[in-house]
């Protein structure tokens, strides 16, 4: 029999097996869906927390106040030079006029303070955002050292406390995510493998009979592997649908609370690749769980 015919027969046996034990199939699929729902919810939380962290990371910046003696063209040249520095993500040039308008519009600005002055006292500046990898005290210090040597920069502004707080928050969130993720992954694997082992155990007679008539390992295991893949993919799809419903319900119901928590960062759902990844993860878990369970049952 060709490999294709073997797989086709195995797929047929897998579908018959699923149809023959609807309760066991349903319980296994539902358990997989539940585990993947928990894992998926955690992953969704992580995706959004990373976005929030990235958003706050934009605030890790260095302001370089430029000399009034320089021409606007010289300001542009300094901005271009700053963009070439290592560890710099972006540079925005804020002209004297723009700085004045920003001050007037700011809730802390007092337009009246500037009324008696003939000239605009605010300097032009470069607002330099660091690349994500450089958003630490060391990264800021290195950039400040490089900028300090430039002619035309009068003063540099940066907040060490903010930078350190941000770095601590990132490390803390990622550490907690890693620990929780590891515990969740282990629990999911255990639950899934035990659930599938139960469904394989329910059909141990079939496995025994196939072995007694001379079925090889692949012949016995392939349909169970395919069943596991199908159950896992179905569980993943169910979990994805439940997550999508939950996400849209939560963002609609708690829009103002989320805005307060996340600032201007909008909560996002999985993109297509991530969504397919959840379904594929379900299929992989189901397939692996089945393969291990059936090989254990045979031995």
């Amino acid at each position: 029999m060709s490999a294709r015919a073997h797989v086709a027969r195995a797929a047929g046996r897998a579908l018959s097996g699923l149809a023959a034990s609807p309760v066991t199939t349903g319980v296994a699929t539902f358990t997989l869906a539940l585990c993947l729902l928990l894992g998926g919810a955690f992953a969704l939380l992580l995706v959004n927390m990373e976005r929030v962290l990235a958003h706050f990371g934009q605030e890790v910046r260095v302001s370089a106040y430029l000399s009034d003696a320089l021409t606007p063209e010289a300001h542009e040249q300094l901005a271009a030079a700053a963009r070439q520095l290592p560890g710099v993500e972006s540079v925005a040039l804020v002209s004297k006029q723009a700085a004045l308008e920003r001050f007037r519009a700011s809730p802390f600005g007092r337009a009246s303070l500037l009324d008696g002055l003939d000239d605009n006292p605010l300097p032009a500046s470069l607002e330099i955002v660091l690349a994500p990898a450089q958003r630490s005290r060391a990264g800021v210090d290195a950039l400040v050292q490089r900028l300090g040597k430039r002619v035309g920069i009068d003063e540099l502004g940066y907040g060490h406390e903010w930078v350190e707080g941000y770095a601590r928050a990132v490390a803390g969130v990622r550490g907690i995510a890693l620990a929780l993720g590891a515990v969740l992954a282990l629990a999911t694997l255990l639950i899934v493998s035990n659930t599938i082992r139960l469904s394989v155990y329910a059909r141990r007679d079939e496995i025994e009979i196939l072995a007694l008539v001379g079925a090889g390992r692949a012949f016995v295991a392939t349909p169970f592997l395919l069943e596991g893949l199908l159950q896992g993919a179905a569980g993943g799809a169910l979990a994805l649908a439940a997550l999508a419903l939950g996400f849209h319900a939560a963002t609609a119901s708690y829009a103002s609370g989320l805005a307060l928590l996340l600032g201007s960062a909008q909560p996002v759902f999985f993109d297509v690749t991530q969504a397919l990844g959840l379904v594929a993860l379900g299929a992989a878990l189901g397939g692996l769980g089945s393969a291990f369970a059936v090989l254990r049952a045979r031995t």
Binding site: A5, A20, A211, L212, G214
Partner: protein, 239 residues
């Protein structure tokens, strides 16, 4: 063919199944089979008799490698079972037909699938498989039931189905553990005729039974076990 009282058949070359001083203990000191040596050749129809617990089923299970002997060597179709791995045992079983006392049918599958699975594991293509399955079901009188499931069959039909699965791959060795256990006399003869015809075609057949009338009627060779020991190995008369 020799009559009752002929000398025991000695082990020799050319046997399809050979046991050399085989013992089996499931628990230390409690022997299910003790120092059994015998040989079964092409076309042999051997009845294994003895009281319950004599070791008949253990002998069968050892020959199709469901158990490993505690002592001794077993050669089946030229393979030393002690040296076969999982794949080797699977390949060997494709050349052996087994009728189990409890039938061991796949209740979730149809009658024809139950028979076809023995050919499927051998890689027989679909069209040929279907033709052979149909022919075998016709031989055992179950072709009209081929789309039904085993649980809808009577006990006798299930027994015939188990026999059809065991015979469909033209096995070189056939093992039948109480194949007529719960059948009425007519069905018993029907089943036994099928088994005897396999031996006539060259299959080496072991039949474990309590039924002495069967041995009298069909027996060509009688192996008597008691307390795990082979106490008699006779070539006898029969049909």
């Amino acid at each position: 063919m020799r009559g009752f009282g002929a000398e025991p058949a000695p082990p020799g070359a050319g046997g399809l199944v050979r046991l050399y001083h085989v013992s089996k203990a499931y628990q230390a000191g409690s022997w299910a089979l003790r120092d059994v040596s015998l040989e079964l050749s092409k076309g042999d129809l051997a009845f294994v008799t003895g009281p319950s617990g004599a070791g008949k089923s253990t002998l069968m299970r050892l020959v199709f490698a469901a158990e490993r002997p505690s002592e001794g060597q077993i050669l089946v179709l030229g393979s030393n079972l002690g040296r076969l791995g999982v794949s080797g045992i699977a390949r060997l079983r494709r050349r052996i037909g087994v009728v189990f006392q409890d039938f061991k049918l796949l209740h979730g599958r149809t009658v024809e699938d139950n028979v076809g699975v023995a050919l499927e594991v051998m890689g027989v293509p679909g069209r040929e498989r279907n033709a052979r399955v149909f022919a075998m079901l016709k031989r055992v009188g179950l072709s009209h039931r081929r789309h039904q499931h085993p649980l809808s069959l009577s006990g006798g039909e299930q027994q015939r189905l188990a026999l059809a699965r065991a015979l469909v791959n033209d096995p070189e060795v056939l093992l039948a553990d109480e194949p007529t256990g719960n059948l009425d006399p007519d069905l018993t003869l029907e089943i036994m005729d099928l088994i005897a015809s396999a031996a006539t075609r060259g299959t080496a057949v072991f039949v474990a039974t309590h039924d002495h009338a069967l041995v009298e009627h069909y027996g060509r060779r009688r192996l008597r076990l008691e307390g795990g020991r082979l106490i008699e190995d006779l070539r006898v008369g029969g049909r």
